[in-house]
Amino acid sequence: MIHWNSFSDFLAMGGYGFYVWGSFGVTALIMSIEPIMVARNRKTTIARLKRQLRAESRAENRNNAE
């Protein structure tokens, strides 16, 4: 079933190794970095919105006290 005779054959890709792995490498890199960046952006956005919300409710409480 497996097409390759050895692992080094697989890496060499019949002489096209640079091009094949250059394609797959960059694709894998992008498709792992994008979700990480989206998740990080979500974290910082939520933290900022929570800060803003707390600041707003503090201001409101002050106004009510006066």
């Binding site: 094949v20 394609s23 694709t27 956005t45 919105l49």
Partner: protein, 248 residues
């Protein structure tokens, strides 16, 4: 009051937000499963191509990335049309959430195309119809993101961006049919609905990878749209309740 199931309910951010959140892990898991199966078939089982040797294996990411770059644009244009026609809140958020993923797919299509073109054609790049129109697609994505980012008011940004998307949609059939309409270095499509010129394992490998890219795009776009929803709806009660809780 009858609690009838109503599909339009999900057009409201307050209902779509938890739904998208619940679906993300499934799309991500399915994407990984399809990806592993596709890589197994494509990289380990599929035979050597009689013309291109092992170099043809780039097809397993080049074609899915290219398909997604065009398909995501069409989905964005669809949301733009809905948004401009019905002034719905969700549509602009959807388009904005999809744009970076679409741009990355267009970039991957061009990158893997260059890595494929060099050994097969002897050049990284030619200014022919297929390659140039795909490059224009990348610029449309970047233009859309720059335009919407430059306009502070979200509603106006959606409108301007939506118009750009609808005008740019003419580029999609040009990309798709470019290999038929013009003489180009790029080969014609290997797959269409009725016949395929590929070996069975190659075809399945490619289709599995396409499903992997598709599910990946949905998962990432859902992640992104949830953040956009919180940001844009921060003054609504449902977001305030979420933020007062332990939303992560």
């Amino acid at each position: 009051m009858k609690d009838r199931f109503n599909l339009y309910r999900f057009a409201s951010p307050a209902t779509f937000y938890p739904l998208a959140g619940a679906l993300i892990p499934y799309f991500a898991a399915v994407s990984v499963v399809f990806g592993l199966a596709g890589l197994y078939l494509g990289m380990l089982v599929a035979p050597t191509d009689f013309q291109q040797g092992e170099g043809y294996r780039i097809i397993f990411i080049h074609v899915p990335a290219s398909w997604m770059s065009m398909f995501i644009y069409l989905v964005m244009a669809f949301w733009a049309a809905i948004g401009l026609a019905f002034n719905t809140r969700l549509s602009g958020m959807m388009a904005q959430a999809l744009a970076p993923t679409g741009a990355l797919m267009a970039f991957l299509s061009l990158w893997t195309g260059a890595m494929w073109g060099k050994p097969m054609w002897g050049t990284w790049w030619v200014w022919d119809a297929r390659l140039t129109s795909e490059l224009i697609l990348l610029f449309l994505y970047i233009g859309y993101m720059a335009l919407t980012a430059a306009i502070d008011d979200a509603r106006r940004a959606d409108k301007a961006g939506g118009l750009l998307l609808l005008v740019g949609v003419v580029n999609i059939p040009i990309i798709y049919f470019s290999v038929k309409w013009w003489n180009t270095l790029h080969q014609g499509s290997s797959v269409n609905l009725t016949k395929s010129s590929m070996a069975e394992t190659m075809l399945w490998g490619m289709l599995l990878m396409a499903m992997c890219f598709w599910m990946y795009s949905i998962a990432v776009a859902f992640m992104r749209v949830r953040t956009i929803m919180l940001e844009r709806e921060r003054n609504t009660d449902w977001v305030k309740t979420l933020l007062a809780g332990d939303e992560k």
